[in-house]
Amino acid sequence: MKRFADLHLYPPVEKENLTRIFNKYAKLGYDLVGVSLPINVTKSRIQQLRRICHHEGLDLATRLDLVPRSVQDLTYILRRTRYKFEIISVTCVSKPVSRQAAKDRRVDLISYRPYSRDRFFDISTAKFASEALAAFEVNMAPLLYEKGIRRAKVISNLRREVRTARKFNLRIVISSGSTNEYSIRTPQDFAALSTLFDLTPQQSLKAISEVPIDLIERNRKKQSQEYIAPGIHLRKEKI
């Protein structure tokens, strides 16, 4: 049976709202939710989120969203935060940042601002990101909340970027980017919406199920104590 994951939720502060949101995720058939957290998040907050998630039968993944202004900023923050979070997403606001994020193996997801004129996602970025096993993130919130010309522009940009990503076998992740319970949809609904930018329903479902879950499992393995280096794991117990 397919497991579904939404890697992008901005959690509200109130516990009641959180419970309602996670309950809705569980009802709509999700198994894993990636929660965007601030860089200085406390362990107690993560534990609180995990407790609520487990109560609803969901798995929680911690996520950090970075919007670095320069390459130096990006490498500095990555060095300090990589081990704390299960997913690191970089929103690229300039071409050098976009290239560096694509090359860096510590970056899991690359995303772009929906309305920006220069979205910096080109063939080279796609090639580098594909080699670094990163994924291109498509945030569905702008598609839901924009109307008219702005939505047409968002769809047009996404169509071009998805075509480039697929050309270089760069994996695509579809996430909701939701801030409240009203912007959460079923995985099948997101798959149907993804047909707007020329993904087939099968490819879209893969982008909500296999790809994000594989990404999380890979990072969890990396963060476990048995992991030493790529391809090297500790198999024997310590004496």
Partner: protein
Amino acid sequence: MIDRRIERKRYIFLTIMREQIFFQMDLKNALWNAILGLYGENGASRINLRIIRFDPNARFAILRCPHKVINQARAAIASITKINNEDVSLSVTRVSGTIKSLMKKSLLR
């Protein structure tokens, strides 16, 4: 034997999440506006979405569309975020070929 001239249909079970109750006409307007916004008049004529049943208290609706455009219908339904300027979330919870099996599956759920 299936008559090939008859267009096959799909029935959609729609779960509505909203605090305030609204009327069937509001849902109809929202659906048509969403379809027109996403696919234009030509697309809307092909999707031809109909409300078969609407229960504002139980917060569900059953819609019908041709089976070939089920993905477009789903996308249009998913793109609705407001009805009468109030936040709403419409989720397709089940799709079936007959109302009978749709009700059976949805109510079992």
